[in-house]
Amino acid sequence: MKWVLVAVMVFATVLSDLLQSHEMKRAGEQSVSARGLARLLHVIAQRRLLILGIACNAVSFFAFMALVQTEPLSFAVPASAASFVLETLLAKFVLHERIGARRAMGALAVLAGVVLVGG
């Protein structure tokens, strides 16, 4: 059961991140001041894919709630990083972000670390 929850959490997170990143890049720079947050909420209301992204985030969130009920936080959080490789690849091929050697190496080191922490 715990791996089912991890799988639901990871796939929902990947979809959510891709939709959010794609839509936020189109929306332009946002700030975190009170006025900035109000404007951010306005941006969310106008963009349907962004709302879908947030719905995926909610699914991932409920899976995380169920997971931390029975598993330690120090398992649940690193397990969520299983989304990492998939997301970096999709960031490159779907969002067309440039992944240099340094970034790729850093990402791989983080991944290896996360696997050890979760193991």
């Binding site: 959010q20 332009g28 409920f62 120090s74 990492f84 970096t88 990402a107 670390g113 696997v115 922490v117």
Partner: protein, 141 residues
């Protein structure tokens, strides 16, 4: 010279938003994990169980912090690439393991601490590269 000042200002903004995000995420995760372990019913596909769990004050506080973290992260994604945001926010895994050990009294093995060091190293490597490589859509119009 002007563009150099502008780009270091943008980097400062990006890292400030990053710090706010990490603090909210860590506090939210720990509060939620603590609260959920006090909820007597096991979660299932039934949404009513999740709503009832939210009545626990630690779960409610955790959710509030994590919603703010989500909004902060969206602001962060507007400032920097996903492939920058993802590895750098991986510091959050280390913070979560630390909070799990200290506040939730979880057992953390040597293997977990070794993994923690790797995450730090990787995140630092990625943090030293330029945060935004894709031209914004407005620039290309």
């Amino acid at each position: 010279m002007t563009s150099l000042t502008a780009s270091s200002g943008a980097a400062l903004k990006t890292y400030s938003v990053l710090l706010v995000f990490l603090a909210l995420k860590a506090a939210g995760n720990a509060s939620m994990a603590w609260g959920m372990k006090q909820v007597p019913e096991r979660m299932s596909m039934n949404p009513a169980l999740y709503l009832r769990a939210m009545l626990n004050p630690f779960v409610a506080m955790g959710i509030a912090a994590l919603i703010l973290a989500l909004l902060t992260r969206m602001a962060l994604l507007s400032l920097a690439d996903l492939s920058f945001v993802l590895p750098v926010t991986a510091i959050g895994y280390v913070i979560a393991v630390f909070l799990g050990k200290v506040f939730l009294h979880e057992t953390v093995t040597h293997q977990r601490w070794l993994g923690t060091l790797l995450i730090f190293a990787g995140a630092a490597l990625v943090g030293s590269t330029s945060p935004d490589t894709t031209p914004s859509l407005e620039d290309s119009k």
